[in-house]
């Protein structure tokens, strides 16, 4: 599915550069459900941005499917994001003046799908996350859990092969978090690769594998969540 080989990333802070990712090297297979954990400042957000083609890297290689993602033009990057990747954010990032249905339909708008068609498809995806009746509500009228479901429906509508979730439960209470993770697991079971960035061990425990980052380096990939220390802490 995706493979990172010796990826390095620097940030220019004032006069000196900060080495944020150091020789990051890992692989995610098709259909996996993987967590990326690390303390804040460990580089996990940067890694997610690179994985999501929202940011470029300085050296190494990032391969998504059969494509090397490197120095893409903005429009090419946009096209890949649109086609291959679905994003789920901690703060949902729904457009406040659009209804749930319109928010879900947005990626199809950028694919040039006609309005009627994309609204029909968006309706199906809202159904899938259990919010069919909320189609005409704006985000301000919804709870955090509902908003995140809308965001997930939006991430799914483009039929991505990869879902990138950045702290998807960070703004939710534990009960809602559990429901959102159930939803992500279900999506994963349908064959979509899911990558979750989190600092919450409970969330990581729900995945199949955890990649740990410390100071921009991968510190040992665990094959099974059973051996995940977070699991023990959660149960």
């Amino acid at each position: 599915m995706l493979r990172l080989t010796k990826v390095n990333k620097y940030y220019q802070v004032g006069t000196h550069s900060l080495h944020v990712l150091r020789d990051v090297d890992f692989e995610v297979a098709d259909g996996e459900f993987v967590a990326i954990m690390g303390a804040s400042g460990s580089g996990k957000s940067t890694l997610l941005n690179i994985l999501g083609i929202l940011d470029d890297y300085d050296s190494g290689e990032y391969r998504l499917g059969d494509t090397v993602i490197k120095n893409l033009s903005e429009s090419k990057g946009a096209a890949y994001r649109n086609k291959f990747i679905g994003f789920v954010f901690q703060s949902f990032n729904l457009l406040p003046f659009k209804t749930a249905l319109e928010n879900v339909a947005l990626p199809l708008y950028y694919q040039g799908v006609t309005r009627r068609k994309r609204n029909q498809i968006a309706g199906q995806y809202l159904e899938r996350v259990g919010l069919r009746d909320w189609a005409d509500h704006t985000p301000s009228e919804m709870s955090g859990g509902q908003k995140q479901r809308v965001a997930i429906a939006r991430a799914l509508i483009g039929k991505p092969r990869l879902i990138l979730a950045d702290e998807p439960t960070g703004a939710l209470d534990s009960e809602t978090s559990k429901q959102i993770m159930d939803l992500l697991s279900e999506i994963n079971r349908s064959g979509i690769t899911v990558l979750v960035v989190t600092h919450d061990p409970e969330v990581a425990a729900r995945t199949q594998r955890t990649i740990r980052l410390r100071d921009g380096k991968v510190v040992g990939a665990h094959e099974a969540s059973a051996s995940n220390p977070g699991m023990a802490a959660a149960t």
Binding site: L54, S75, A78, A79, L94, L106, G158
Partner: protein
């Protein structure tokens, strides 16, 4: 491709900041309204002046005698210059004169005469004229005709009266043609009733004037061979200023006036006057465009500014859109469209208000033929140009915010909380 969603997007953004949208739109609205008001005002002055000059040839030259100020050829200064019928022959030899009309006012310049008809009397201007005058000052005839060649040849006692004369001496509806009016004790048969095309003071004067054949006045009132002044027009394509010089030179030579004595012969050159008017109108028009355009530009800068702020506020939204697959082009086009829509709608309202304003001005000034301002004439082309400027201005206003929006990096946008 027409996509309702695009319009909904634009509408939603503009609506989410009503006050700001309104104020920005008002800037553009005001700008275009001012532009049109300025152009309309300029046009009103122009049409007002044209209305005043209507009925007069624009290549017209008047020439009259004054007093010499220089001693010349053995003659002392302070001598009164009196044109005579010999001058007519001399001037007719000048090739660039189109029409020559020697004129003489009974009793002298600005003196009125008592004219009577049956029991009524009035004081009017009496002019002795040649038929050529009608090529220089145009009249319309409510009845009859102007003086003709036979009148001149036979020194007939006929008269053409102005509308004001008719109103004062005749009963309403009475046919004046064939009636006899008494001018200073001599009876003249009325052969024509004129209606002037000029307005204002000149129109007033025309209406209260009686025209008799030049030769008749000479014999009937013993005016000798005097000529009061000359009215003449230059042939099309000739230099009216040069003609004025030639006419004066001819007259000076004949009347033994020093060639450098500029005060001996007075003149009024309509062509030069008209040229000055034309320059004035041109300057007025340029000023209108510059001032109006500057006001419009201020409005456009306002739009650009607001769009820039809007884009900054929407950093996150733009980031989200980019993450979902929006290309930089689609972002640029989104912001540009908002800008163009805003300026165009506001501008169209301004154009509509401007058209209304000008229509009102037209109604007012048309009803007041004596006012120095005439009905403004704003052509469709001017309106079209204004619209073109608006759309271009909208695009211009959108460029900077749009490129800024396109340069937003999704990560930075999504990080912004």
């Amino acid at each position: 491709m027409f996509d309702l969603d695009k319009w909904k997007e634009i509408w939603a953004t503009l609506r989410s900041n009503r006050l700001r949208t309104f104020l920005t739109a008002f800037g553009v609205f005001w700008g275009i309204l001012m532009l049109m008001a300025m152009l309309g005002f300029g046009s009103a002055i122009q049409s007002g002046s044209k209305r005043q000059m209507k009925g007069m040839a624009t290549n017209l030259l008047f020439c009259w005698g004054q007093q010499t100020t220089e001693a010349f050829d053995g003659l002392p200064p302070g001598r009164r210059v009196q044109f005579n019928t010999d001058d007519i022959e001399l001037l007719r030899r000048l090739p660039s004169i189109e029409w020559l009309a020697p004129r003489l006012q009974l009793g002298g310049w600005m003196n009125n005469f008592t004219v009577g008809y049956e029991s009524k009397n009035g004081t009017f201007t009496v002019m002795a004229d040649y038929p050529e005058l009608r090529h220089i000052i145009s009249f319309e005839y409510e009845a009859g005709r102007f003086i003709n060649e036979r009148d001149i040849k036979e020194s007939r006692k006929v008269v053409v009266i102005g509308r004001g004369v008719y109103d004062q001496l005749f009963e309403p509806g009475e046919n004046p043609i064939g009636k006899y009016v008494k001018i200073s004790g001599v009876y003249f048969e009325v052969v024509g009733l004129t209606r002037t095309l000029r307005s204002g003071g000149q129109g007033e004067r025309d209406a209260n004037t009686l025209f008799v054949p030049f030769t008749t006045l000479k014999t009937a009132f013993n005016m000798g061979n005097r000529v009061g002044f000359f009215a003449l027009t230059a042939k099309p394509g000739t230099d009216a200023e040069e003609l004025e010089r030639q006419v004066k030179e001819t007259l000076k030579r004949h009347h033994r006036i020093a060639p450098w004595d500029d005060l001996a012969i007075g003149s009024f050159n309509m062509f030069v006057m008209f040229g000055k008017f034309q320059t004035f109108f041109l300057v007025l028009q340029i000023v209108s465009w510059v001032v109006g355009g500057a006001t419009l530009l201020a409005g456009v800068i306002g739009v650009s500014n607001i769009m820039l702020i809007t884009v900054k506020e929407r950093t996150k939204e733009i980031g989200v859109r980019k993450a979902l697959g929006a290309t930089p082009f689609s972002i640029v086009s989104m912001v540009m469209k908002e800008s163009i829509v805003l300026t165009t709608i506001a501008g169209l309202l301004g154009v509509a208000a401007g058209v209304g304003l000008l229509a009102a001005a037209e109604a007012v000034f048309s009803a007041m033929p004596e006012s120095p301002l005439g009905p403004p004439e704003i052509g469709l082309s001017t309106v079209m140009i204004a619209m073109g400027i608006l759309v271009a201005a909208g695009a211009l206003a959108g460029i900077m915010p749009a490129t800024h929006a396109a340069s937003i990096k999704p990560i930075e946008a999504l990080r912004a909380e």
